[in-house]
């Protein structure tokens, strides 16, 4: 989706900035971001928390929006 | 065709009602008498949630016509406790966490009571086969079997 790249680097200090940056720099990701994504910050999954702070040392993983039974 | 008058005994109380000829006992209990403890899980005798006793015998009330209980004695979950004193099965089901959502619980309690009246000291296998007509989707039956056995032991000792 992100032009075939598995890992991308962006400047952002929270999830909202991260998502906005991603959607701008990698338009292929925009539709999925609009549909909703979960994010994993160092292994902990966050569903929609825009203002979760992130830093250069953090590993962020974009995941489809999570539901359950 | 007019509704049919039926005179019966429910949980020891003489009860009269009018019902249509094709109405099940379950519909009569739930819709006409306000006794909603018996549940409809399938309406075809496959789940046991509507279990009651009819003249002392365990039946699915969805497979009995309302008109059939004229002159009969019906026992439902509403009659199982004695005032504020729960039947040992009821109390032990709570103690042993033998229910989760609880929708199957009234039927299972009625069925288990009927088993222990007939066989006060059943094996686990006998309990499992007796209750095979009572579906439970939450518990995996394990705690139900244990609770029935604990209640059976207590009732034997009493």
């Amino acid at each position: 989706m992100a032009d075939g790249q598995e890992w991308v680097e962006v400047d952002a200090s929270n999830f909202k900035q991260l998502l906005d940056e991603l959607a701008t720099k990698h338009p292929g990701l925009a539709p999925q971001i609009k549909r909703g994504v979960s994010l994993s910050l160092d292994g902990v999954i966050y569903r929609e928390a825009w203002f979760t702070e992130i830093g250069p040392e953090n590993e962020i993983i974009l995941m489809p929006y999570m539901v359950g039974g | 065709m007019k509704m049919i008058p039926v005179e019966t005994t429910i949980n020891g109380d003489r009860t009269e009602f009018l019902c249509n000829s094709d109405e099940s006992l379950l519909d009569v209990l739930r819709d006409r008498l306000g006794l909603t403890g018996a549940k409809e899980g399938c309406g075809t005798g496959d789940c046991g949630a509507c279990s009651v006793t009819l003249n002392g015998r365990l039946v699915c009330s969805c497979l009995v016509l309302g008109v059939e209980v004229d002159g009969a004695e019906v026992e439902t979950i509403e009659g199982m406790a004695d005032g504020e004193t729960l039947h040992p099965l009821q109390r032990i089901f709570i103690e042993e966490a033998a229910l989760q959502c609880g929708i199957c619980t009234p039927g299972i309690l009625i069925a288990a009571k009927s088993l222990l009246e007939k066989n006060p000291d059943p094996t686990d296998t006998e309990v499992r086969y007796w209750l095979a007509g009572n579906l439970c989707r939450c518990t995996g039956y394990d705690k139900i079997i244990k609770a029935v056995q604990k209640a059976a032991a207590e009732m034997r000792a009493a």
């Binding site: - | 000829s21 306000g34 005798g45 496959d46 699915c60 016509l65 086969y129 007509g133």
Partner: protein, 306 residues
């Protein structure tokens, strides 16, 4: 109304549709008369465990329901000529509680006791099971191998009909308009005789037989089979008596060759269908397996030692 009934529930308006009529006739004759007079669909109510399911599913919408279980003898099990006459409204549970029938015809009782759940067994009857005429009816194969006789009451009085001749196809019986079964007769047994019934179901309870087999044997003093009847269920449009399968056992003590003959004859008698419950191959294979296993149980019950 029930005194402790809850305060708020909706009043019922009358259904506008012509409702099913429910009658409890006062005699066999009256029952026949009302059945003969009915222009629409009539059904007999004994245990109700099939007919009420069909009602619910809107498969059958009877115009008339005739409740006969209160009529004389309907709920009785009586000794007759060394055998037993079983009223048409005797439930499977009631049958299972009768020590005499259970000792003489254990296979018949185990067939009846396999109909549905504990709840259903307290209502279901062998006669109801027979008249539903399902090829998979659990109580029918052992009645067939027992050479049970149904007593049929009709407009012209009573007649006796072998149970095997009652079902003529799925959901169809040989009973004529105005006729209904009042009892079944299980004949007397010599010593060294027994029967057994087995069915295959995917679970341990609560299913309709995918295939089934009943075997009834009589042995001589040495343990050799002198009479053998084998019937299979759910492998043909009706429960099927398989004379070749019985013949394979006559004069034997159920040695391997006899059993092989039984299995081959049983499989050969199968003409099942593939449906949601099983395939042709599966039904055929398991019918043979069940016949073999039931034969061993019946043989052992009859006092035979292999």
């Amino acid at each position: 109304m029930h005194e402790s009934g809850c305060a708020a529930f909706a009043p019922f308006a009358e259904s506008w549709k012509t409702q099913m009529r429910y009658v409890k006739p006062e005699s066999y004759e009256a029952a026949s008369a009302v059945l003969v007079a009915e222009q629409g669909i009539a059904r007999i109510l004994t245990g109700g465990t099939d007919v009420l399911v069909m009602l619910k599913a809107e498969v059958v919408e009877p115009d008339l329901m005739v409740d006969i279980k209160h009529l004389p003898g309907m709920r009785d099990i009586v000794s007759e000529d060394g055998g037993y006459r079983i009223g048409a409204a005797v439930s499977s549970a009631q049958l299972g509680e009768h020590a005499g029938v259970k000792a003489m015809w254990p296979g018949v009782v185990e067939g009846a006791e396999l109909i549905g759940s504990t709840q259903v067994q307290n209502r279901a009857t062998m006669v109801g099971n027979l008249c539903t005429a399902s090829p998979a009816a659990d109580s029918v194969p052992a009645l067939v191998t027992a050479n049970a006789i149904a007593r049929v009451h009709g407009p012209d009085g009573a007649r006796d009909v072998p149970v095997v001749d009652i079902p003529i196809g799925p959901g169809k019986t040989s009973l004529l308009k105005g006729e209904f079964i009042t009892s079944t007769y299980l004949p007397a047994r010599p010593d060294n005789a027994a029967d057994a019934y087995l069915r295959f179901i995917p679970r341990t309870e609560m299913d309709i037989a995918v295939s089934s087999a009943a075997v009834s044997l009589e042995l001589d003093a040495s343990g050799s089979v002198t009479a053998a009847f084998v019937a299979l269920g759910a492998v043909a449009p009706t429960v099927r008596l398989v004379p070749d399968a019985g013949a394979a056992l006559i004069g034997t003590k159920l040695d391997a060759a006899a059993i092989a003959g039984l299995v081959a004859a049983a499989e050969a008698a199968c003409s099942p269908i593939t449906d949601k419950r099983g395939t042709i191959e599966f039904r055929t294979k398991t019918a043979g397996v069940l016949a073999k296993r039931a034969a061993h149980i019946a043989y052992s019950r009859a006092g035979g030692k292999t």
